[in-house]
């Protein structure tokens, strides 16, 4: 699906820098128990993200129309917490084996979809869309623009998840 990346023969300066950090040492030394724990937390985090943002998006798209979207929006901080867990665990993953991510097409696709999801979040909160949706009473249909944003959100986060899951299959061989 994705092209395989070539890894340089010698580690680049950025990689040497990552490998000199405390985080790198910490992950490498505790990998046996830490790595599976971090992965489990990463999966919990993504579930919380989907739980809250997914429910909200589906309501905007018209499922559970009897819910005023503003009421459902109260769950969003839980999703942001899940996202924060995933950023932190993600930084630890990258610190441990930087070249496994950097020279990995799935990683860059994941980043691309995260950027799309991020721009989409900005498009929702920085335009009139959020105010329009928040004011909707129970039973009301959301405006088309909000539905477009909700659909993009579901698609982009699903793509982030899939690319994340595919990371394993596009890793360069362990060299350094």
């Amino acid at each position: 699906m994705f092209p395989l990346f070539e890894e340089p023969e010698f580690a680049e300066p950025w990689e040497l820098w990552v490998r000199a950090t405390f985080l790198h040492q910490f992950v490498i030394e505790n990998g046996r128990w830490l790595w599976p724990t971090l992965e489990s937390l990463h999966f919990l985090g993504l579930s919380l993200l989907l739980a809250t943002i997914g429910l909200f998006d589906l309501r905007v798209l018209g499922l559970g129309r009897g819910i005023p979207p503003g009421a459902l929006h109260r769950l969003i901080p839980i999703g942001i917490a899940g996202y924060a867990v995933n950023v932190l665990t993600g930084i630890l993953f990258f610190s441990g084996f930087p070249e496994q991510y950097f020279y990995n097409a799935a990683f860059w696709w994941k980043g691309t979809f995260m950027a799309i999801a991020g721009i989409n979040v900005a498009a929702f909160y920085l335009t009139a869309s959020f105010r329009e949706v928040k004011m909707l009473p129970a039973g009301a249909d959301a405006p088309f623009r909000a539905k477009l944003i909700a659909g993009t959100s579901l698609g982009a986060w699903s793509a982030v998840l899939i690319c994340g899951r595919l990371l394993t299959f596009y890793r360069p061989p362990f060299f350094h």
Partner: protein, 171 residues
């Protein structure tokens, strides 16, 4: 080879099993992606409903949350199918790992709680305080089960002692 091992050996040698284990990006990697996506939507949506039952976002009418159940049943169907395919690919790997049975048990409990929460809490017109209190207990156990399912599922990749019949881990 015991009869049980012979059975697993037979499954491992079917063309479907070999396809799942094979090089195709549309086999193991995509089945795994579907399984993770299904997990996110099933555990995630269920957790969202649990949070509402626990009192968060309490202006959300509970009966409306019953409408999200088809999303979870779809996700469960996707995960049953993708999980079965993964099992066909590596039957011995999963069935010889005690943690796999822990995961299956926790999923069964979580799905049972999902049904109970819908019937006993979400669809009650004017739930009494005792009902709401029971709902909070069910929601807490539901959340704990999903955390357990996710940890157990993730740890399966690290705790198996056999990969295929006759092939120990780290062979």
């Amino acid at each position: 080879m015991t009869p049980l091992e012979a059975g697993f050996d037979w499954i491992e040698n079917t063309s479907l099993s070999m396809w799942v284990r094979g090089e195709s990006m549309f086999a193991f990697p995509l089945i795994l992606s579907a399984h993770t996506l299904g997990m996110g939507f099933l555990a995630g949506t269920s957790a969202g409903i649990d949070l509402r039952v626990l009192g968060l976002a309490n202006r959300v009418p509970m009966s409306e949350l019953a409408k999200f159940y088809p999303v979870m049943w779809l996700a469960l169907a996707v995960n049953f199918t993708s999980g079965t395919l993964l099992l066909i690919g590596y039957p011995y790997k999963a069935f010889t790992n005690p943690l796999f049975y822990v995961k299956l048990t926790l999923i069964a409990v979580a799905v049972y709680l999902l049904v109970r929460i819908r019937r006993e809490i979400l669809l009650q017109a004017e739930p009494a305080e005792t009902v709401l209190r029971r709902g909070r207990s069910l929601a807490m156990v539901s959340l704990a089960c999903w955390v357990g399912v996710i940890f157990a599922g993730r740890l399966l990749a690290y705790t198996y002692s056999w990969l295929l019949v006759g092939m120990p881990n780290n062979f």
